[in-house]
Symmetry: C2
Subunit: 491 residues, 2 copies
Amino acid sequence: MDKKLVSREEDYSKWYNELVVKAGLAENSAVRGCMIIKPYGYAIWEKMQSQLDKMFKKTGHENAYFPLFVPKSLFEAEEKNAEGFAKECAIVTHYRLQNDPDNKGKLRVDPKAKLEEELIIRPTSEAIIWNTYKNWIQSYRDLPILINQWANVVRWEMRTRLFLRTAEFLWQEGHTAHETKNEALEETVMINNLYADFAEKYMSMPVIKGVKSKNETFAGAEKTYCIEALMQDGKALQAGTSHFLGQNFAKAFDVKFADRDGQLNYVWATSWGVSSRLMGALIMTHSDDRGLVLPPKLAPHQVIFVPIYKNEEQLNSITQVVEDLRNQFNERGISSKFDNRDTKRPGEKFAQHEIQGVPVRITIGPKDLEKKSIEIFRRDTLEKQFIKIEESLDFVSKLLDEIQKNLFDKAKNFRDNNITEVENFEDFKTALENKGGFISAHWDGTDETENKIKDLTKATIRCIPDENNIPGKCVFSGNPSSQRVLFAKAY
Amino acid sequence: MDKKLVSREEDYSKWYNELVVKAGLAENSAVRGCMIIKPYGYAIWEKMQSQLDKMFKKTGHENAYFPLFVPKSLFEAEEKNAEGFAKECAIVTHYRLQNDPDNKGKLRVDPKAKLEEELIIRPTSEAIIWNTYKNWIQSYRDLPILINQWANVVRWEMRTRLFLRTAEFLWQEGHTAHETKNEALEETVMINNLYADFAEKYMSMPVIKGVKSKNETFAGAEKTYCIEALMQDGKALQAGTSHFLGQNFAKAFDVKFADRDGQLNYVWATSWGVSSRLMGALIMTHSDDRGLVLPPKLAPHQVIFVPIYKNEEQLNSITQVVEDLRNQFNERGISSKFDNRDTKRPGEKFAQHEIQGVPVRITIGPKDLEKKSIEIFRRDTLEKQFIKIEESLDFVSKLLDEIQKNLFDKAKNFRDNNITEVENFEDFKTALENKGGFISAHWDGTDETENKIKDLTKATIRCIPDENNIPGKCVFSGNPSSQRVLFAKAY
């Protein structure tokens, strides 16, 4: 297989698809729209999971597991939510196969094994979970419920792309129940901040926090908070959402509690999630024409050792040094791998680790050993440097922090340079076409204007940012606007 | 809710069901046969997962993720495997809902959105995975492939019980590909040993390792290794299986590789799994009429602190001591929780922690503080003891090891006392009816005898144990037998 990627400039979309496959992250499967997450890709996802899981637990959440299936009658209970997902549902109608009498050795659906009620494969779990919470909540003493679930979900999307939009994807979904509106709102905002922290500190991906317009609000929610990131091609990507559900699901499933005054009230709810889509965001934020670039905090191994040797004896000396260094690294919390495969030449190994985005490569040959030094290559800037072996632990330790920071700074710089403030619709269109990125513009707050802009430009309102509350005039209608919002074409 | 359980003697099955629900481990859902794993139950499952995952990685396996769906044409490719699961498959036939014109506000399956090919929800993933491996394997250099997947699977079982048999369950499934028959066989055995280690060292559950009879071999496998445990009611439980698949799946999916001599050969395969069923095994192995008993290595928290106080001042003094102890415990790797809820009385707390099987409870009141001592209660033997605060860290540390060991010894003792060697079929039936447990008997190796014994007694061959290879005469037919096998009624 040719290891070289098409360049981003030549064909950004092709570059992404090739990178995902050639770096061994994921590939398409025999099932339309469903992907296979390969070991290297899954190892990155595990790093994300493990960090997010820690953050959820630290903020008082517990994990649990709810069924994959939602009976149709529960699915349709919250009408807006049902409407939002009805058109992209995988539906189980039968529970048995039988031998096909017309095709020896083949099977067919047993027509007698039809379910009385169809089961929807969860596109999201509010319905099944709120039907359960109903039995768990009687009084304010049963609140709050702070539960998260790691699960697979299915949304029958027509156009799919590895990680970014797949029929089945992996995610976490938090579902919390509260006594008061305020408490639920605080939870919603706290989680959105948690997502932003994770994106910025672990993924090195700067995000803008804000609220969705009514059009883009989650089906069944009162208010959707989100974090929005900018990809290198100037398109935005929604990286996480946190929904204030009000009392909508409590009403749909009749979940009331006796409050501190003994009055029966509907419970307040939130739900929030990030998905394997973050993998796509991570890839597109940092990678270059040579392949994946990974922030050290999410790299399956942060350092790869490659030996250069002509004979067994040389390999043995190098191995000794590498094993010693790996032990030192390990104690300092630096993960590493020794690529001593004898089936690949060093050049092939370099190419593979480069396309797989290993943050630091250390090369050791016999000459290096003589000089008691090693060659250190950093993937983000492609710089090489020789370092004394005795200094390498401190050097690499600092270097990993530096790479983590450099990736964030670079991405933030790019993002900040790609927010264009415009005052009229002509400039809006010009900026969107010529530059892309976020267009910061005044909007009159109506669905109508939002839809017209979308029809004319394909740009949607990505978020109403937390800051920037200066009033003005709508870029499209000229009507009053309370603040600028961010438009962009989006994934 | 009444916290007291029916006793095991009175109604073992009811005891189990009540315990699972009252200890907050799991409950039935609105979906037939599907369970909700509640936070406390899920925390135990997470402990199991995390330990197994470490063991898999240490033996060279990597995690990956394959689709939930298997297209029917792939599902039926390996005929025996397909036949084994065809009768219990959930089948997706449609991908869209629409408004029901006859029922305002309701949805119905959109008849136009019928899939061209039905999708089976994976009951196990050999088919989809071997269809993928086909593209990954060209030469011996691509082997071995050592992959594990943590996933949900669906088997449409008619009679379900929480954890033990549910339509959807959580599991891990390993799928490996090898160059030689021997290497695949070694992997199969190595994993079965790994499962046994996990069961004995972490779950404190003694198991017997062996091979399944042909009747009980996994559909599509050449040989199934297994670990079998004995529950307190004398019924056996299959706790894990490791399958040598031979070249069956390689042939079904045409997966060949160029070997070291350049010859094309079919790849050798294994698959292996343990599931959330282990939760049922764990519960039934150790628990008593008061509720769950947990081995410390799998307890969500190993120590619970309960304060006894009359006023804020007393609570403050106790809290100080508890926080100090918790820090010390934490440094020693002992997990603990402080139950300082003011909504519950100490008695209620005791009852809850007892039914939830927290290994060690530490009670501290004002009088204890005066004496600089604490009361330590161990869940397994129900013994209480007063210990000086300054000695408590070492004491608890040792106590947890002791509990872990005691649970294993007790369970092993019970298991060993419930293996009955019999020489004729009358004794077989008597032992099975009066005592239960494993019946160690000679068997002539035929399906016919095995089936007859099953029809007459409901006992199946649980395994052909690794040891005990002395020949004899079949307990049923009188024909020659190469070794004793273990029969039992089973979950």
